[in-house]
């Protein structure tokens, strides 16, 4: 018999600090598989956020730099403009990209920066203890929406993929999830495409990944993975939101 599944080379051998069933480590592995297959390890520069994935540099065996909360897209812009040969990717949570970082993200996309954004949407602030996120669902209980998110007082969950699709410089935006084998395979393909868009200098690419957070959703890992389908995809539908590339190579 031969080995058909093994750890990607660019994933360091450290034990993940993430909770049992967390989506972060699945996505880390997929990104590393893509980095291996597309031969990007020497040129990649990754930008993790504050939050649970602040320790991403213990797992990705590529150059990485921490950014201030929400500013990843601006840091990525600075890196890519000063050193265009780098393959630059941000790895951001929902607070980071959809809350404090909206201005930087929208404007990096508007300028069509050739960067790849990986946006982890788990509808809650994990690292700080389970507060509301911009993507928290209506009625969802968190530590700062103890009565359930009230859309009149606290607004609706924000759909960053749809918002960014309106921006001219955004070339490719897809929403996927890492809560089932099928979805995990689709997530990997989306990540591959998002890096290819950067290599082809076609503009800003983002993959929004619905990810389970069993600890702060107060569910078991299996229940949390099911909740992504049962509840999150009703508000955040999966699929390609924008693909300007397709029309370009449709001939």
């Amino acid at each position: 018999m031969k080995k058909v599944f093994t750890r990607p080379k660019s994933l360091k051998r450290n034990t993940f600090h993430y909770c049992p069933g967390c989506g972060h480590s699945i996505v880390h592995r997929l990104i590393c598989e893509v980095i291996d297959e597309m031969n990007l390890q020497d040129k990649a520069i990754g930008i993790p956020p504050p939050g649970c994935s602040v320790f991403a540099y213990y797992y990705f065996d590529v150059d990485m730099v921490e950014s201030a909360h929400g500013r990843g897209a601006a840091v990525a812009t600075g890196i890519k403009r000063a050193f265009p040969e780098a393959v630059v990717f941000t790895y951001q949570g929902d607070g980071d990209l959809a809350g404090i970082g909206t201005a930087e993200t929208i404007h990096a996309a508007n300028r069509g920066e050739n960067i790849t954004s990986i946006f982890i949407n788990n509808a809650v602030y994990g690292m700080t203890g389970g507060q509301m996120a911009p993507t928290t669902l209506a009625g969802q209980t968190t530590t700062t929406t103890p009565y359930g998110r009230d859309t009149i007082l606290e607004g609706h969950p924000i759909k960053m993929s749809e918002i960014l699709a309106l921006v001219e410089g955004a070339a490719y935006i897809e929403r996927v999830a890492v809560n089932s084998p099928t979805n995990i395979r689709k997530t990997k393909k989306a990540i591959q495409k998002a890096f290819q868009v950067q290599l082809d200098k076609l503009g800003f690419a983002m993959v929004e990944i619905l990810s389970p957070c069993p600890t702060n959703w107060k569910m078991s890992p299996v229940e949390a993975w099911q909740w992504v389908d049962k509840e999150m995809t009703k508000v955040f539908p999966l699929g390609v939101i924008k693909d300007r590339i397709r029309s370009k190579d449709a001939d």
Binding site: Y125, T128, G129, Q131, P134, T143, T144, P146, Y147, L153
Partner: protein
């Protein structure tokens, strides 16, 4: 009322509500999340009150600016990196003479730093912090009870002097649980501040601004702010003196460092060392006069802070060269123990020949 056991963060929230605070605008950051969460639970559904977990700390301070403008008591909280974000907003509040309470439960820095207590935001708090010539009152509690008491006082001072007030706490004070008593009930309704902007009905319209194209106008605004700061210095400086009446050496420390120092001082006192403590409670205005009084009787000052040396400059300025100043500090969120500080005090005491 009875004493209750609460974390420092929650005690701030309860004290603010009882002081008639009607709005809280904040953002999650460790180690102050229990305060944001307390307000989400207890303020958000109170009649006439509002709670917003804003999209960022910058948004939150600008929401505070708006709420203060229309005359309600308002508060925001964060920790070091988030307080850095608020500096522009605080400069605007000071320029417009708007009252507000800003809580900083400091953590280690610089950068993302650590999530545990440090005192490295002293300069940021006491020197204005943002751009321009201005000051904010800075209160430094050192117990959960004092957090509660000074929160109420902060709102009163902010309203009285039309100035932002910073409560400079830290991660230990925020997370520790101690018994606390609240000295007054929340008012049923607090009157809207007299000079608030609420629509020009029945009076000429007015505008609030901080920009001027006339430098002489801005000069006069600056002088006028500083005249008020002189009044605050004269009337609101607060500090505690502990066992310093017969001391040969005085430790100067604030906040949680002062708690640790008290433990160290009690230890060295049992060995016969005559050591006392000066604990500034207002960091701005700094208790210069207390230092000048003490230096008439003793010459050795040991400044103990959990940073690389910030308050030490204010002690040196107040002494005007009349005493000797030494420093012991641990930055980054490392928490020194009372026995460690006791050893530092003893060593200095004997090196300086004070036991003779």
């Amino acid at each position: 009322m009875a004493k209750v056991l609460m974390t420092g963060n929650a005690a701030i929230g309860e004290a603010a509500i009882r002081a008639g605070c009607q709005s809280y605008f904040g953002y999650p950051i460790t180690p102050q999340n229990e305060l944001t969460e307390y307000m989400a639970t207890h303020l958000s559904r109170r009649k006439g009150c509002s709670f917003i977990q804003a999209e960022s700390e910058i948004a939150a301070i600008n929401m505070v600016y708006g709420a203060s403008l229309v005359g309600v008591r308002t508060i925001t909280s964060s920790s070091s990196p988030g307080i850095s974000l608020k500096q522009e907003g605080i400069s605007y509040l000071a320029a417009c003479e708007l009252p507000a309470v800003i809580v900083n439960m400091s953590r280690g820095g610089p950068g993302l730093g650590s999530i545990v207590a440090a005192q490295s935001d002293y300069f940021q708090a006491t020197r204005g912090g943002g751009h321009g010539d201005y000051r904010t009152i800075v209160l430094a509690p050192s117990s959960v009870q004092e957090l509660a008491d000074l929160t109420g006082k902060a709102f009163d001072l902010a309203d009285k002097y039309k100035i932002p007030v910073i409560i400079l706490g830290d991660g230990i004070l925020g997370q520790m649980m101690e018994p606390v008593e609240f000295n007054h009930e929340a008012p049923a309704e607090l009157p809207v501040r007299r000079d608030a902007l609420r629509g020009a009905k029945g009076r000429p319209s007015k505008f609030i601004k901080t920009f001027t194209s006339n430098p002489s106008e801005l000069e006069e605004i600056n002088w006028s702010l500083f005249r008020r700061y002189e009044l605050i210095k004269r009337d609101e400086t607060a500090y505690e003196i502990f066992l310093a009446e017969d001391a040969d050496l005085v430790v100067v420390a604030f906040g949680i460092a002062a708690r640790i120092a008290k433990g160290a001082i009690r230890t060295v006192r049992t060995e016969g060392l005559k050591v006392g403590l000066l604990r500034p409670i207002t960091l701005w205005p700094f208790p210069d006069e207390a230092v000048k009084e003490l230096v008439k009787r003793m010459k050795q000052f040991l400044v103990f802070e959990m940073n690389m040396g910030q308050m030490i400059e204010d002690v040196q300025l107040a002494l005007e060269g009349k005493g000797e100043v030494f420093f012991y500090g641990r930055p980054g969120g490392v928490i020194p123990t009372p026995s460690e500080v006791a050893r530092v005090i003893s060593r200095l005491y004997y090196q300086k020949g004070l036991s003779k």
